[in-house]
């Protein structure tokens, strides 16, 4: 029992999966076992978008207290708009559209870091301000256009293999790559070191600026990927397509067990938390709760989860 407790305390992400499982059980108990598989499959496909941006947000939050990327929603929108406009429904322009969208996201990442580093603006305000500019750019560039994605992109985003969305497999690979990046590369070590103590990280030989730069760029690129896939999934880009990801990206990071104080990321937790969040909404829908009740309950459950999971233990 003690060993179990010890193992759990070292793996905070388990809770998010436990919570997801409980919510799923509650739902199918209510429906009398109906549609359990379909719900899971839908959860996988909708949760993937949150997972993509959640991974980026996780990297940013791990680089230390105060670091957070609030420009993710705007970047998603910009990337979606750029991708759709450059592709212009042509399959032949698919690749160039992807490159253009990622390039735009890359620029956003650079701009964010520039504000934080050169102008010494706190990240929360820097990314917020830049998100205003990015959103304006997206609005002005994509004005009044509603362009459908090229068929292969739409197919990729909605296709299923044995009931499992292909996008989910793609995001699984992405997740594994990020996990390896964090645990086995110099970049991963430096993210954790910088997150604990920036000065000590510099004195231990890490390039702090390069680490933070890479992190904000990675977060923007992941938001870009999300924008492209999401546009493919929902039949085109929309100016409000990123909106819900502001809160969602932060929520999945925290519920997933990543330390808000910095230095410790929890990659699997992003999956558990994203699936949990989706299942929660599904459950409330199944129970016939109105949109408002869902809103209140979502908020309360986020609070309850964080209260149960507890904060950082005081260091002696």
């Amino acid at each position: 029992m003690k060993n179990l407790a010890a193992a759990l305390s070292g793996k905070p992400w388990i809770w998010s999966f436990v919570a997801a499982a409980l919510v799923w059980l509650a739902t199918i108990t209510y429906t009398g076992g109906q549609g359990g598989g379909a719900i899971l499959s839908a959860a996988l496909s909708f949760a993937t978008f949150t997972i993509i941006v959640g991974l980026g947000q996780m990297l940013v939050i791990t680089t230390g207290p105060g670091n957070v990327d609030l420009s993710i929603p705007a970047t998603i929108t910009l990337s979606g708009v750029v991708a759709m406009k450059v592709m212009d429904t042509e399959t032949s322009r698919l690749l160039i559209g992807v490159v253009a969208a990622l390039a735009a996201s890359f620029v956003v990442g650079c701009f964010n870091f520039g504000l934080i580093r050169l102008l010494r603006i706190p990240p929360i305000i820097a990314t917020l301000s830049s998100s205003f500019l990015v959103l304006s750019t997206a609005i002005s560039y994509g004005r009044g256009l509603r362009i459908k994605p090229p068929p292969p992109l739409a197919e990729f985003a909605t296709m299923r293999m044995l009931g499992i969305p292909v996008v989910a497999l793609f995001v699984l690979l992405l997740t594994i790559a990020i996990a390896v990046l964090l645990s086995r590369t110099l970049y991963g070590r430096s993210v954790s070191a910088v997150g604990q103590n920036m000065r000590a990280a510099w004195l231990a030989g890490f390039n702090v600026d390069r680490t933070r730069f890479s992190t904000y760029v990675l977060s923007a690129l992941l938001a870009g990927v999300c924008g492209i896939v999401l546009s493919g999934f929902s039949g085109g880009a929309a100016l409000n397509m990123g909106e819900e990801f502001l809160l969602a990206s932060i929520a999945v990071v925290v519920i997933g067990g990543t330390s808000v104080a910095g230095g410790r990321a929890s990659v699997p937790g992003i999956w558990g938390a994203a699936i949990f969040m989706y299942l929660l909404v599904t459950m409330l829908n199944t129970f016939g709760a109105s949109a408002v009740i869902r809103l209140v309950l979502t908020g309360l459950i986020i609070i309850v989860v964080i209260v149960i999971a507890g904060g950082e233990k005081e260091q002696r």
């Binding site: 207290p65 105060g66 957070v68 504000l115 102008l119 010494r120 603006i121 706190p122 929360i124 305000i125 820097a126 917020l128 301000s129 830049s130 998100s131 205003f132 500019l133 959103l135 304006s136 750019t137 609005i139 002005s140 004005r143 809160l247 932060i250 929520a251 925290v254 808000v260 104080a261 408002v292 009740i293 869902r294 809103l295 209140v296 979502t298 908020g299 309360l300 459950i301 986020i302 609070i303 964080i306 209260v307 507890g310 904060g311 950082e312 233990k313 005081e314």
Partner: protein, 309 residues
């Protein structure tokens, strides 16, 4: 030789002056009693929300729920307070108590305030929509009367904001209680060692934040005369930006109430300025971001110079 520390403290005021001058230049007609009154009419609720945020930032937390909270206060006041003042006051007091309870919870469980208040923002918004599914309700007459008060020579919003700023400034920066509150942000451990209760310090700051949040909601309702759950959603961002513009820092108990109010005024004014500039609506929001960046860059330049000097 410029005194950089003084310059840093003066920066919020300078930024306000620059934005004000730019507005006058673009639209000279605003340089009048009524012009200023109109442009700054929302200064009071924004300033109050910013003060609320500042109390939370003093103890190293962040309140992402203040916007929806202000909206909820408006909805409660336009319905319950209008129909039954006694119940209404009770409900508002209960909301303030909620803030205190959240502060206690955050302290006792050592929780990240960003996440808790993020969750709370859903809760406030949900309850507000539940009370008032579509914009409506009525502001109590006394509230409307207060907010449409005409002050001689200087527009009321300016006077009110300055008075609010000064009162809170004296209370937090110069009182012996304020020292404890700021000390709790600067070095909580030291405060605990000196025998102070961190729990009570944090709860007091959250209660104060709740109280000023309620004041913000009431004053906003007095101006709009009817309520809308979403009316103050932007206040969360405004209030954080206002505190930072005003010279506050996210951690370490470094805040300036007067600066925060001035920061909030600058943001309110910047909104009007952009409308006068007649830039394309596509770029309205972007320009707001740009103004934020410019002011913060200036502050960074001054602070940086100060450290080097």
């Amino acid at each position: 030789m410029i005194n950089r520390s003084l310059l840093r403290q003066a920066l919020p005021f300078l930024s306000l002056a620059v934005v004000l001058a730019a507005t006058f230049y673009v639209q000279p007609r605003t340089m009048s009693y009524f012009g200023l009154n109109l442009m700054l009419q929302y200064a009071v609720p924004i300033a109050l929300a910013t003060i609320a945020q500042m109390f939370i930032i003093t103890v190293n937390d962040l309140d992402l729920s203040i916007g929806p909270f202000v909206g909820l206060v408006g909805c409660v006041s336009a319905t319950l307070l209008y129909n039954d003042p006694f119940l209404g006051v009770l409900a508002l007091l209960a909301l303030i108590a909620c803030y205190g309870a959240v502060g206690a919870l955050i302290h006792l469980r050592n929780l990240p305030s960003i996440v808790v208040t993020l969750g709370l923002s859903f809760v406030w918004l949900g309850i507000a929509v539940l009370i008032l599914p579509s914009p409506g309700g009525k502001a109590p007459d006394w509230l409307k009367a207060i907010m449409s008060f005409q002050f001689p020579y200087v527009p009321f919003p300016i006077v009110a904001a300055v008075v609010i700023g000064l009162v809170v400034h004296v209370a937090l920066m110069n009182s012996s209680f304020g020292v404890i509150a700021r000390g709790a942000g600067g070095n909580p451990k030291a405060l605990a060692r000196a025998g102070w209760s961190l729990l009570w310090t944090k709860v007091s700051m959250y209660l104060l934040a709740g109280f000023f949040g309620v004041l913000s909601g009431l004053s906003l309702l007095g101006l709009t005369t009817s309520a809308d759950a979403h009316v103050a959603d932007r206040y969360t961002l405004y209030s954080i930006a206002g505190v930072i513009l005003g010279g506050g820092e996210f951690v370490g108990g470094r805040v300036s109430p007067l600066g925060a109010v001035v920061g909030a005024l600058t943001l309110a004014l910047a909104g009007s300025f952009l409308i006068f500039l007649k830039i394309s609506p596509d770029w309205q929001i972007g320009a707001q971001g740009a103004i934020l960046i410019i002011v913060l860059a200036l502050r960074a330049a001054v602070t940086y110079g100060e450290k080097r000097a």
